[in-house]
């Protein structure tokens, strides 16, 4: 059709241009890694990626939790999606999820704890919790109506809320916003990560469900 007549050469040119740019990229004269290395012992965690995510650029992660929450708000405001067909879970799925869900939760806890010193951290642990939640939802389990109101909403905002509370708390005791005093930095980071893991897991599972649990269309 006529559109691909001018589209393909344009895209090929774009590809070549970007490829050439990537290959001819100059090495930055003073990169960030050197500065990062000599700030690591003050950062409270020894895994550099977690240090950058939670301590040096913690503000990014705060907005990140906001993005997750807003996506869920958008999904719930759209609402009206037919709930997952209540077909009874097959035998295989039932047995598998009975074995897998406890393991997933255990691994998520381990990833959260090990994130301070080795690859792991809040987002990976949270997504594992989300996977456990998806498995449960597939088996037809639904959150009880009693706690699908405020308790669920509190769990969902726990990540962003803990970030904001910790940040302003540190601000009030005289530091900058989100400035962890180095002796207590490790514990603070782990606390924030734990809250973030819980709310990421709940958010991802709720997004999989798609509609308000126990809400109007129940």
């Amino acid at each position: 059709m006529e559109r691909s007549r001018w589209l393909l050469p344009l895209l090929l040119m774009l590809c070549l241009g970007l490829g050439y740019t990537v290959l001819s990229m100059p090495e930055p004269v003073e990169g960030l890694p050197e500065m990062l290395v000599d700030n690591m012992e003050v950062a409270g965690v020894s895994n550099p990626v977690t240090a950058v995510l939670l301590n040096f650029r913690g503000y990014d992660t705060l907005l990140e939790m906001g993005v997750l929450l807003v996506a869920l708000l958008g999904v719930w405001s759209l609402g009206g999606i037919p709930d997952y067909r209540e077909s009874s879970p097959g035998l295989v799925l039932d047995i598998m999820s009975r074995q897998l869900v406890p393991v997933l939760i255990l691994v998520a806890g381990y990833l959260l704890w090990v994130g301070a010193d080795a690859p792991g951290g809040a987002f990976q642990a949270g997504s594992l919790l989300g996977a456990a939640g998806v498995l449960l939802l597939l088996c037809g389990w639904r959150i009880g109506n009693r706690c699908s109101g405020l308790p669920l909403r509190f769990l969902l905002i726990l990540g962003l809320g803990m970030f904001v509370v910790a940040g302003t708390g540190l601000l009030l005791i005289g530091g900058e916003f989100l400035q962890y005093p180095s002796p207590v930095a490790r514990e603070l980071i782990l606390m924030i990560e734990a809250a973030a893991t819980l709310s990421i897991g709940a958010t991802l599972a709720a997004m999989f469900l798609g509609s308000l649990p126990g809400g109007a269309d129940k």
Binding site: C15, V22, L204
Partner: protein
């Protein structure tokens, strides 16, 4: 010419591949797949260029940026999928009504 540039070029080609699919395909689910492939391409460029000199450890800042980017793209994908279902229920079709040029 270390292997890193191979992956950076792969990232650029995934970006352009996704862009082409986003424009050409009309089905909304394919467009969402195309956006995901494009973002994977951008993340590949980000991480590949971070370990250009082998002797020093790779620079962790792009790694943190990519993890943030992955979580942003999963939340955007979730919203896009639910919106696609609503569009399908409202218009009975899986495409955007008019020429839908992106």
């Amino acid at each position: 010419m270390s292997y890193v540039y191979l992956y950076a070029l792969l990232g650029v080609s995934l970006f352009v591949l996704g862009l082409n699919a986003l424009i050409v395909h009309a089905h909304l689910l394919r467009k969402i797949l195309a956006v995901n492939v494009m973002s994977t391409g951008v993340f590949l460029v980000l991480v590949a260029l971070s370990s250009r000199n082998e002797e020093v450890l790779p620079d962790p800042v792009p790694h943190a940026m990519v993890i943030t980017g992955i979580v942003v793209s999963v939340s955007a994908t979730a919203l896009a999928l639910i919106l696609m279902l609503k569009v399908n229920r409202a218009t009975g079709k899986n495409e955007l009504p008019d020429r839908g040029r992106d």
